[in-house]
Structures are given as structure tokens and as C-alpha cells.
Symmetry: C2
Subunit: 325 residues, 2 copies
């Protein structure tokens, strides 16, 4: 289980390694939302997403004689890049297991960050878990899970400590903190940090319409699954269900979930381009979309939205600009 002491310890280990991302704002966004909007751009984090925090936290928490054998992760996305870069910075090997139909650019980028990429035959039905277990056992690698791991959650929680610190400095005592939510690692970590350091701030998970497993789980008090696993542009945050570790934390500490449409994510991406000059990926834009276009679901005169990542294909980004910039 994670707790606030683990988050504070992770912050110490991340010092000088992760970026303390700022809170950005624009009067134009305040006008759209009808309240003050502050954006925490984790797209500016190393490797373009918050995932570097959790990866660094997990790797740096391993005993030396375990870490030195290297780590392994299953991911074709932001978690892959975070783990690859954190491992390279630690000077240890990383193996990233990806489907063989992953975009070549993601494979190339993960390799360029220092990882060995092992492909499995997803269309052919090969089990990535079986393949990963085999490699891990043979080489003594440690698995770094994407969200349901106490040290990963602790690392993501450092973003929450920064929000608490910067909100306190701005005199903000009460606000909803909107967080893009997949498995819940970032949301649960931020929720614990806010509960400790800024108890008037309340974390709220944001998801795409139709993939609201966390919102429904929080609403009924039991873990619910999504019926579909594809069909939204918000690929980075589409997960089957909340984690076994993250869900009880969110259930204790988070406010109700909010859902937004893919179209509103694209509008939010265009607004961030025009008004804040940052690049946000679709899944990373759900919280800003909620802040701007679902004002009725939010209370208070200030809202804080986390932009969880910026690793978006240029074609997808251009499409958002074409439609809404």
C-alpha cells in the first residue's frame, strides 16, 4: 500500500531528476471556463509525460543488487518511455515488451531512450505475460507495473505535492484538481498528496465518455470494467478497470469522476496550443476539457487541471488544430 511518507520519500529521490512543472494560466481560458483555470503541464516532464516520475521512483527504490540486473515493462506508450529513460539514467538495462503492430516511431523512440524492445505477436494471440515472465526469469529483471505498484503511485504523487505547494503559494484554499485517469496511478497519488498538504483541494478523475470505469466504480463503490478497449482517441488512458491498489485510495479520497467527449479533448488541445503554447495528447487533455467545457460539474472559483502527457502524433495534433484552432 502507498502512503504519504512514501510520496515524500519519492520526492527526495526525484529531486534534480524530475521537473517541477509550473501552473500555467491564460485569461482567455478563464473566460471560457467562467472561473480561474490553472494547468499543470506534465507534458513538459522528461519523456513527455508524468510516467517518468513513477518509473524513476520505482527504479530508485530497488535495492542496488536487484536493480543492477535491469527492469522490464509491458507498454507501447508513455510508461515504456518513462521506464526506458529512468533505467538509462540509472545505468541499468531495460526490456520493453511491445506488440509487433505498435507504431514504428514508438518502437524507435523507446529504443533511442536506451531500451531493448522485445516484440510479441498480438494479432497471433501470443501472451505478453508469458513472454515477459520468461525473459524476466532468465535475466533476473524486475517488473515495473504501469500503475498498480506502491512505488509507482508514490512517484506520481510527487506531482500532487507540487500542486499543493504551488496552490498554497497562490493562496488557493479550495479547488477541484482534475486528473486524466487510466488505471488510477496518477489520480490516487495526487489524491494522497493533496489530502496531506492541501486538504481543501480535491482530486477528481477525468475519463473519455464510454470508458468511465473509474467514475462508475467510484459511484457504486465496487470495481467496474469498461465494455470496450478501443474506440477513443484518448489511447493513453484507456484501461480495462481501476487497479486493486489505486481503487481503494481513490474511493477514500477522490470526488466524483467527470467524462468528456473526444471532440472536447480536441478543442482543449487546440485551446492549449493557442493560449498556453503547450502540446497535449488527447488522453492528456481530458482534464483541461472538463475544466473548460463541463463547468457545471465543477465547484469553486478556481479549478486546477493536470495535462498528463504530450506524446501525440503530428497528424492527430494537426487534426485538432484544423477543427478547433
Amino acid at each position: 500500500m502507498s502512503n504519504i511518507d512514501m510520496i515524500r520519500a519519492a520526492q527526495q529521490r526525484l529531486k534534480g531528476r524530475a521537473r517541477h512543472t509550473p501552473l500555467l494560466s491564460s485569461p482567455f481560458l478563464d473566460d471560457i471556463a467562467g472561473r480561474r483555470v490553472l494547468l499543470k503541464p506534465e507534458c513538459l516532464q522528461h519523456t513527455g509525460s508524468f510516467k517518468f516520475r513513477g518509473a524513476w521512483s520505482a527504479l530508485s527504490a530497488l535495492p542496488d543488487d536487484v536493480r543492477k540486473h535491469g527492469v522490464i515493462a509491458f507498454s507501447s506508450g508513455n510508461h515504456a518511455q518513462g521506464v526506458a529513460y529512468a533505467a538509462a539514467q540509472h545505468g541499468v538495462a531495460s526490456v520493453i515488451v511491445m506488440p509487433n503492430d505498435a507504431p514504428q516511431l514508438k518502437i524507435d523512440n523507446t529504443r533511442a531512450l536506451g531500451a531493448e524492445v522485445v516484440l510479441y505477436d498480438r494479432p497471433g494471440g501470443e501472451s505478453r505475460e508469458a513472454l515477459g515472465d520468461k525473459i524476466a526469469t532468465e535475466r533476473g529483471l524486475t517488473l515495473v507495473r504501469p500503475f498498480d505498484d506502491p512505488q509507482v503511485i508514490a512517484g506520481q504523487g510527487t506531482a500532487g505535492l507540487e500542486i499543493a505547494q504551488d496552490a498554497n503559494a497562490l493562496g488557493i484554499k479550495d479547488a477541484d484538481v482534475l486528473v486524466p485517469c487510466g488505471g488510477g496511478g496518477l489520480t490516487s497519488g495526487i489524491a494522497m498528496a493533496l489530502a496531506a498538504d492541501a486538504p481543501g483541494l480535491r482530486a477528481r478523475p477525468c475519463e473519455p465518455v464510454g470508458f468511465d470505469d473509474v467514475k462508475r466504480s467510484l459511484s457504486c463503490g465496487e470495481i467496474q470494467r469498461n465494455s470496450a478497449q478501443s474506440g477513443s482517441i484518448c489511447d493513453a488512458i484507456i484501461t480495462p478497470q481501476p487497479g486493486n491498489i489505486t481503487f481503494p485510495i481513490m474511493s477514500d479520497l477522490c470526488g466524483p469522476g467527470i467524462t468528456v467527449s473526444d471532440d472536447d479533448c480536441q478543442r482543449a488541445m487546440a485551446a492549449a496550443f493557442t493560449r498556453l503554447k503547450v502540446v497535449i495528447e488527447p488522453g492528456g487533455a481530458v482534464a483541461l476539457a472538463a475544466a473548460l467545457y463541463r463547468p457545471d460539474t465543477i465547484s469553486g472559483d478556481t479549478v486546477i487541471a493536470v495535462a498528463s502527457g504530450g506524446n501525440v502524433d503530428s497528424k492527430m495534433f494537426q487534426q485538432a488544430l484544423e477543427k478547433y484552432a
Copy 2:
């Protein structure tokens, strides 16, 4: 004349008002450049460019009974937005004089930031100076010049104090600091700040090929003019010649100028999108373009590039992505 004490005083007045922008980096950019690249993204500054620093510095330095009558500026670009927003934040009126063929979006944005926009008939040959003088005299407004003003230069210099502080924290003792250069307000301000706080760091002006008035002026020791006033996508930094105040400072303190092609600016914009998740306008990208694609003109194992602004039309940005992302 400007000096380091004025820059430090401006920093005090800007405290809590301007953003201390970070130094961003990516191993992918280091690979392109063949050395460590650090980017200072002033596109993340309020109003999307460094101009807010100088505008706030100038306004906050005015005596209360002068400032209360308001300010006036001639600009259709970043200076207009910086002055409008700084005036609004001070609670005083601003008049921005723009040509009547300026893009409607720029007029709308400047108005939305609180300014009164007065249009003059540029195609008809109307003198903006005569119009501006008339309005200023009638209403007791103070003119805020875009670069050749000691308090404006002092404000821009605060970006240099931040670079010195952050480079020192990273242990960087020697490096070229590449600065997009129009009239020289930002370059001369940064040069003075570095000379005081990080004397191993050397400011170097960057300009588009064919609009290298500052490079040629520094090279021959006398102010030179550009023959053309249009024909580059880097509109934000196309000025006829260096300023009478900025040039002697640059002549004293800056290293040789560097020129880059419009194409390389677009490549740099695409690289910043892909690797750093920030939006840079063409003129704001000349320094990053020099860092990435003119490595032969730079010495040392680290280079720092300033991205001076991000106010780019979405069509122009999409074009850069289309070609190079």
C-alpha cells in the same frame, strides 16, 4: 542607459508577475546538436512571449501619477499583447496603434487583453507616429517602446538572470546563449545579466538569413540596416536595424551573430513539438534552429537557446509539422 542594477530592480518588480521559465531538454535534441541543448521557453511566458517582461518593467517603473493616465504602444504583435496585459494588470488604460490591415485575430486578442485598439491606414500612407502623438498628447499617455527603452531592456534582462541562476545550479560554467534578435532588447538585456551573474556564458544574437542587420552591425562595429522589411516567416524579429541603446550593449558584450534559414526554423518548430511539447513561433525558433542545425558556429559542450515566443498562427504551425514532424 540600462545597467545590471536596473535589471535586478526589474526582477523585484516582476516577482510573482512574470513566470520564471524553466530550462527544458531532451536526449533527442542533444543527439541532433552533438552537444547538450537547453531551451528556455519564453513562449510559456504570459501573453506567449518575453515581451510581457519588458512591458511590466516599463509600466511598473512609471510614477503613479504618470502611469494612471495610461500607456500607448505601436505594435501588431507580441509587444502589443505584452503592453495590453501589463496595463490591464496595473489597472490602467492602454492604447495600441495597429495598421488597419492587421489580422483580425491579433486585433481581437489585443482588445480581449484589455487594450483600446486604434487603427491607422497603413496602405493609405497615414503616419502612425503622427496619430500616436496626437492621441498620447490629448490623453496624457506614456509611450512604451518595443526595445529601445532602458526599462524595457531591464525587464527583458530578467530572463538572463534566470538563465544565469539555472545554469549555475546545473554546474554550467561556459556556454553560448543563443537569443532570437530583432531590435536587440532581449539580447542586450540577457547579455548584461550574464556578464554580471554568469560571465562564462556569452549571449549571441540569432537572425533569419537576409535580415541579419545585428550580425553585420556587430561584425563591422557600426549600425547596419536590412535592405528588406518582409520576406521571412520570422515576422516577430524583422526590424530595420538595431536600436541606439541596444547596439552599444550588444557590441560590448555579445559574441558573433548567427543566421538560420526559414526552413531550419520550421524544422526547429517541429523538433520542439515532438521532443519538448512546446509551441514556438518562427521568429522565436531561430535560436533553437541555430543550436540544432548550425553546430559548427557554436563552441562548448552545452548550448542554451531562448525560444522568445509562441504566438504562431495554426496554419503556419501545421505547415511546419507537415514538412518536418
